[in-house]
């Protein structure tokens, strides 16, 4: 990464030198021409004047403009023409008219040739600087990583370069210091400012077993951290990788501009030859024909067309990264404007994803937890974990014939008693009557609990209500999205009543309940029949649905981001990011459209005007330079938009 940074600085410096050099020689030329041609003060004879201009102009074009001329002329041998080909041809022809004017009667454009080159270099310099501004947030991100780490080796604190940190090294982070790499806290208490990578401005509390992210800033306490990820595997490295890769993705709206860019230069070359031929034949004025065709060469600007989208995408990525919104596929920006339906996964997206046992109905709660805890211990399901945690057993009973019944629950034997734990469907299947327990079940479901019914030997012995806390800003976010006119839908494996209760709490209108995890993408497909769908879910379990949706927004968990799924990734697990991501996408797309419009309009209007002979070559060059600078500046203006 380091050499790239200096490479860009070097490039800016080299253009700056060229700029100074070019004008140093061009200004005297301009003054001489001003005196001579406009004010008619002839210091030198006509011929001496041309010689002086040719001598002064030589370094401008062939020394300061060397790189441009070289790269431009290469196009004529390789047939891969670029922007420089137009400038090179334009300036060289103009310069040669000066020499030719000694031999034939021809207007001398050599002074103009220097000015074109000087303006071209100026434009390039401004353009490169503006392009640098466009990527300033991304560059900041690249430099964000810690350079050094304080490490504990042989009970001694030593400072080592970050590259030398190994997994499982114990790192010491003092207050105000940067956390060197991703890790887990093994000692200490503090809070950490993670805003630089997640966009979350409030510091996050960290204690033993908390995950910490490299490049975030430790606040008040000393933290001892065990490094868990280093180098390319860190959270920050993933974010950078993701953003850089996004810059190479194509946005459909740019396709036409790209196609035009690729044939633009040869087309202009042909047009200028035709212009020259046309004017020489019809006006019988070769001097004029030269001037006009030079103007055509230098006014045409494929740059503005080609830069419209990538520059805007760059600025947008930067703004997003600051807020924890990572645009992984540029296409999402364009698709977002057509999204009408937003589907949210429930667990982990609207809710925290950490279910907890909230209420238990049983005559013998202790016994209930003993048997349920022992059985659920064998399951990996998040709800099972919640129950095991609640039961908090010192010793587990012996469980036999453990069996998971997909989507319904599980069964097992404990000391010859047949135990079934699950939902109503399981009880129906086992022909276990609900009886009066139905009332408790209904009550629990209305409270948005996920209900577990426990039966022993076909008799219900208790009901467990498990609730998953709703994330703080879920309600706020859904409200905004509803007001913006989106159709909001929640998808979940829960039963209808529980799902409804949660949906009501956050303001979601539609619920698709009892959906098995593998069916989610099918449900998204069904919804797509009625328009474009955006799916919001965690990147790990919901990958197929995220892919199926027109735009997939993957929620990060704060320490991990799922890179491979989701067109947009939210580094922080807050739903607020969805609103911001939509706003950012829309604003970005609008900017891209604006830029493309201007770039097209510029070429469509200016090229014919130049062909018609209305534009002086110098003005043509200035206009050309301005057009690409305008596009980049306009992209930079995206920052003004409140997202």
């Amino acid at each position: 990464m380091h050499h790239k940074e200096s490479f860009e600085e070097k490039e800016i410096r080299s253009w700056k030198n060229k700029l100074i050099g070019a004008w140093l020689f061009t200004i005297p030329i301009a003054l001489l021409m001003l005196l001579d041609r406009l004010l008619k003060i002839n210091i030198f004879s006509e011929e001496v004047m041309v010689i002086i201009i040719l001598i002064l102009g030589f370094p401008v074009i062939f020394i300061f403009g060397f790189q441009t001329i070289k790269s431009g002329l290469r196009g004529f041998t390789s047939f891969y023409f670029n922007m420089d080909s137009l400038i090179a041809l334009g300036t060289i022809i103009a310069y040669l008219t000066g020499i030719a004017s000694f031999f034939i009667s021809l207007q001398d454009y050599s002074g103009i040739s220097s000015m074109i080159m000087a303006f071209f270099i100026t434009g390039k310099f401004i353009e490169i600087k503006a392009r640098g501004r466009a990527s300033k947030e991304i560059k900041k991100l690249l430099e964000l990583g810690a350079k050094k780490a304080r490490i504990l080796r042989n009970k001694e604190e030593i400072e080592i370069p970050i590259e030398d940190v190994q997994i499982n090294d114990i790192l010491i982070v003092k207050p105000g210091e940067k956390i060197p790499t991703d890790g887990i806290v093994i000692k200490g208490d503090s809070s950490v400012n993670e805003s630089m990578v997640t966009g979350e401005s409030i510091p996050v509390d960290k204690k033993i077993n908390s995950n910490v992210i490299g490049a975030t800033i430790n606040q008040e306490g000393i933290l001892y951290i065990k490094a868990t990820k280093i180098g390319k595997d860190t959270f920050l490295a993933h974010i950078i990788e993701l953003i850089e890769a996004a810059q190479s993705t194509k946005i459909p709206i740019q396709a036409l501009a790209d196609k035009i860019t690729s044939i633009f230069v040869p087309t202009i070359l042909i047009i200028s030859v035709l212009t020259f031929a046309g004017w020489s034949i019809f006006s019988q004025d070769i001097s004029r024909a030269f001037g006009i065709s030079i103007a055509v060469l230098v006014i045409a600007c494929p740059c503005a067309l080609g830069l419209a989208t990538p520059t805007t995408l760059m600025v947008s990525s930067g703004i997003g990264a600051k807020r924890g919104i990572l645009i992984r596929k540029g296409e999402a920006i364009q698709t977002m404007k057509d999204i009408r339906t937003i589907v949210f996964d429930k667990t982990g997206t609207i809710t925290q994803g950490n279910p907890e046992v909230t209420e238990i109905y049983s005559k013998n709660e202790k016994y209930l937890l003993e048997i349920v805890g022992s059985i659920e211990k064998l399951s990996e399901h998040p709800i099972a974990k919640a129950i095991v945690k609640k039961a908090n057993l010192k010793s587990y009973k012996e469980v036999k014939n453990f069996k998971i019944i997909g989507g319904k629950g599980l069964e097992a034997d404990i000391s010859r008693n047949k135990i079934a734990i699950g939902n109503e469907a399981l009880m129906n299947e086992k022909n276990i009557p609900l009886g009066n327990f139905k009332l408790v079940i209904d009550e629990f479901e209305e409270k948005a609990y996920t209900v577990l019914i426990v039966a022993e030997n076909k008799k219900i012995i208790g009901i467990i209500g498990v609730a998953d806390t709703i994330k703080e800003d879920s309600k706020y976010t859904i409200n905004i999205l509803n007001r913006q006119g989106f159709r909001t839908v929640m998808i979940t494996g829960d039963n209808e009543k529980t799902a409804r209760a949660i949906a009501n709490q956050v303001g979601i209108k539609e619920v698709i309940a009892k959906v098995l995890p593998e069916e989610k993408s099918n449900k998204v497909r069904e919804l797509q029949r009625r328009g474009m769908v955006c799916f919001v879910g965690d990147g790990i379990n919901d990958a197929p649905a995220l892919k199926q949706a027109n735009v997939g927004i993957a929620m990060g968990t704060g320490t991990d981001i799922a890179i491979e799924s989701g067109d947009i990734v939210l580094a922080r697990g807050s739903l607020r990011g969805v609103v911001a991501a939509i706003a950012l996408s829309k604003a970005t797309f609008k900017k891209i459209k604006q830029n493309l419009f201007w770039a097209f309009a510029y070429n469509v209007i200016m090229i014919p005007l130049a062909i018609a002979g209305f534009i002086h070559p110098i003005l043509a060059e200035i206009a050309m330079a301005l057009s690409s600078i305008t596009v980049i500046t306009n992209a930079n203006l995206l920052r003004r938009k409140k997202i």
């Binding site: 050499h3 790239k4 490479f7 790269s71 290469r74 196009g75 390789s78 891969y80 023409f81 670029n82 922007m83 420089d84 390039k124 490169i128 392009r131 466009a134 990527s135 850089e244 890769a245 810059q247 190479s248 993705t249 194509k250 790209d258 860019t261 690729s262 633009f264 230069v265 494929p302 740059c303 067309l305 080609g306 830069l307 990538p310 520059t311 995408l313 760059m314």
Partner: protein
């Protein structure tokens, strides 16, 4: 299939990026090419038998230098 990331020096306009894309695409075995002017980077997907040297040579023939390979 392999993925190659290259840093390219000397690109200064959009037609440069498009030239490199067009030229590299013509190499046999290249699946996708995406050149970003903003990051000076090319991301290339190619069959395993495509040699890096050939890609580098092609890019330099069009007039640009590969400065770094990832």
């Amino acid at each position: 299939m392999k993925k190659i990331k290259l840093y390219i020096n000397g690109m200064h306009c959009a037609s440069c990026a498009s030239n490199i894309e067009r030229a590299v695409k013509k190499i046999k075995g290249i699946i996708t090419v995406s050149v970003s002017l903003m990051t000076n980077k090319a991301i290339i997907e190619a069959e395993d038998n495509v040699s890096l040297d050939e890609i580098k040579k092609t890019i330099s023939k069009v007039g640009y230098n590969v400065v770094n390979v990832e």
